[in-house]
Symmetry: C3
């Protein structure tokens, strides 16, 4: 965690825009929460053309849903929402602002497991030991 | 918000059924909650054939998940669930009723941003100003 | 319910691995919660190649998200997380353990409808009547 899912209709985002949006979302989340970038996933599922509707008619919205550990301050979430929205506006000026919906949804840390461990609460005391343990046990991961 | 995701195995829903289901879900949500239709998204992600299992065997269920602002009365959710279920039964009589699963999941309004604004709570006092502001700022959106 | 979504980049899982993982997740959930297998859905949505990023770079993680009725003991969730993680490690030894993220997310029973009925709380008193009713009303379902 976190996972950010950016759902669009096929053809809405170019490879370059995906690359840049993934980088921006990763940086925003890492900067606002101090999470290690190596735990931040951004994925781009695609809907077949014609499989999205708004107001009952065919549409092509940008629907971004993050799932993050619960327990952050509201200001952290607001900053993440604001900065991702700004990035979408800049990268995708042709998309109407009302077609950009972003949600950052809390998931209790205890509900998730990564690298075979239940996640720590997002407080320094729990994270410190967890990250140290990860570093001890994990070899560097080749990107693939 | 809301977003309704209707997940099926590719080939389960025809274009006509998607069109009709999108329209029905939009109308049901708008009627039961008084939300403006223009904020209601319905999407139809598809699983490749053979990528869904029930009881460990290949299956073709209808899995509908709505994410809506938290704070509605239970009767509102029940009516939405009931009416979407009834629509699926009517549009898809060949699907066994036990293969139709619908969930309407609360998301706190403050966790989401649309059109660059944090969503209002689903109460008239907050929504009135928000909708007026949207109307002021937004030009009509061409469906695309 | 439950639904387990196993999200990967296309090409990560073979048909055989999907078959086995679906069976294992179904067995684990049924054994740990006493839910009837016939209500357990496991689905494998796929991302196009190049549509997943970790730390801002292209990656191929295993992202598993279960949605289950709220109200289980923490030990039940922990056992589910542990056993699914172990299965992924065994079936997919080439995936780095830090690229396996599993979350089991609570959904209040009252938020969902299956077979046309609001789900019962996960306690015997409510489930008994519900399952008996299902058995009365439902003909056996041919897997399809």
């Amino acid at each position: 965690m976190p996972i950010y899912e950016c759902l669009t209709v096929s053809g809405t985002l170019s490879q370059d825009v995906r690359d840049r949006l993934a980088r921006i979302i990763t940086d925003v989340h890492a900067e606002e929460t101090n999470a290690p970038a190596d735990l931040i996933h951004v994925v781009f599922p695609e809907l077949p053309r014609g499989h999205a509707y708004t107001a009952g008619s065919s549409s092509a919205p940008i629907l971004i849903r993050g799932q993050v550990r619960a327990g952050r301050a509201p200001e952290v979430r607001n900053a993440i929402l604001r900065r991702i929205n700004d990035a979408c506006r800049e990268l995708l000026p042709e998309i109407h602002p009302m077609r950009i919906l972003i949600a950052v949804i809390d998931v209790p840390a205890k509900w998730a497991m990564e690298a075979g461990r239940i996640l720590p609460e997002p407080v320094e005391s729990e994270e410190k030991e967890w990250f140290e343990d990860l570093n001890r046990r994990m070899a560097p991961i080749a990107q693939a």
